[in-house]
Amino acid sequence: MKGFPQAAREALADSQQRRNVGHATRTIRAKRAAVVGEVPDWEALRAAGEAIKRSAMARLDELLVQLEASVQAAGGTVHWARDGAEANRIVASIVKAHGADEVVKVKSMATDEIELNEALAAEGITAHETDLAELIVQLGDDEQSHILVPAIHRNRAEIRELFRRTLQDTEDLTDEPAELAEAARRHLRRHFLAARVGISGANFAVADTGTICVVESEGNGRMCTTLPDVLVTVMGIEKVLPTFEDLEVMLQLLPRSSTGERMNPYTSLWTGTTDGDGPREFHLVLLDGGRTDVLADPTGRAALHCIRCSACLNVCPVYERTGGHAYESVYPGPIGAILTPQLHGLREGRTLPWASSLCGACYEACPVKIDIPSILVHLRGRVVRDAAERGGLRERLSGERLTMEALARVFASRRRYEAAQKAGRAGQWPLARSGRIEHAPGPLHAWTAFRDLRPMPRQAFRDWWRTRGS
């Protein structure tokens, strides 16, 4: 891990990627704005969406037990996993029990997070990613850079070269997107028809009916959840919704925020197993994987409300310039900056809470109203305190820390504050030229390297207040 500042510097040097990401985020932003603008009750839907998720988190234990019972009653099997390794073991043992050495997979953030493909490979099982973008990433041995369009950093010419190199019968392939999609269709169809085990994530899981919901565009999700004999769904425990009717809110918020469509091409809802239709066996793996740690922080837990629409990425001025790789995390962008450090108990992504200008665009775009800027500030505090607790003498005596402690003392007492003001007014005159301080002394020069400071006024508000007469 390089940390965000270094990784961002490197990403910014890649001008092709910056053009690709800039074009993509601008395009999705315009589409989203148009379809959100035509919904007269959008703010009412956001308020309902936020409350549904908050209510689900407040009753999470009860709802998961209810979900388990509903899925079992509908003929499914439920497994619980404390962490990624446990979830991976469960999935691998199901695949092996059916004698399969290949699975087809529909894009899922949870399985990316626990590195399921790598774990299956270690057991001799090949996982075929079937989402076009995931296929591009997998064939290129690349990393995804966006939640929704993971290959957003690749243009069509790069994709054509990749397909020519890795897929059969592609010598005459042009860089027309339709032709590239056709090549992927031919390549994957034989896997779909042969696969005995399918693996999916879940966008939503309904506690009262046991219904799982997967939202997608291409039809690969329908293939993976319909054709194989056995279906395994891995979902983070925060995906549970209390009632089937809650879908009426989420299925309006998600597609419009995500792809900027009124509705995505395909939404699949299934409840356990159905005789003569789809898989004969259904397994649901409920994954904790750090989510209960997030839940334990009353301020940070709203990060669990995320429905993975990626609207916050597309509006973020930082993401738009750096792209997703700089976040060094499965979850990039503003949501990644609050989710990643929390999911890993601040052991990973410690620099991410600073990867933001706190402009608030993410909060405005979020369909479930996650107050990302406030959580970023909260996490900055947690990271600093954590460093002080864990760090040695050097951490405790760092310049920033000592300065902040001194400032805290000054701001805590009126006497000290006024004395400091007086001293500052006396000391600043050699520095203030034409009403600005352009070069502050000592460690403060880092601040004035990029901006000017206004000098303190001759008369402070407090002085004026005392002398204003009655």
Partner: protein
Amino acid sequence: MISAAREDVLERIRSALGPEREVVEIPRDYVVASSMDRDAQVERFAERAAEYRATVWRCAIDDIQQAVAAALAEHGARRLVAPDDLPAAWRPEGIEWLDDGARTLSPEELDASDGVVTGCALAIADTGTIVLDAGRYQGRRALTLLPDLHVCVVRSAQVVGTVPEAIRKLGEAVRTGTRPVTFISGPSATSDIELNRVEGVHGPRRLEIVLASR
């Protein structure tokens, strides 16, 4: 082992939330019932489905057969899959019908067909969506997935205005029969390459909607 994980996860949740749980009221003051009249809803459905590059064929309820024939002729489709309860009155002459139901078609047979003809459970005007719930005239999910052409008959009485109206109607199919539900909005599509929308990756590349009104 597995039950130990279950107890651990539940215990972690309980200790994370603590004894004082928040009680959350969910404000549901969003629009549930459409304010448009039925004709306007049907018009909006036709418009919005077409915006997804589905082709919409309008016809009278007695002319479904001719409209289906026209939609099939457009693609030169001759070997068609159908759920075996598809009404005879919807089936044009001169088609080789592969019925699925009493006999189950293999994935290869579905893949090799020219297309599929079905009905639907309902359609949503606001989003131009058709919804299948494996009920009457629809068959199982694979039928509308593997063939490259899907012709779907929607009767105007099946059109609802909003997503909440649709979900509330579907609740029954899910609660009583645990039937699978599929929302379809236009043909299969991807925007993964430079965000250009391309029809048809894995699902049917053509969606033809026969919209029959009284």
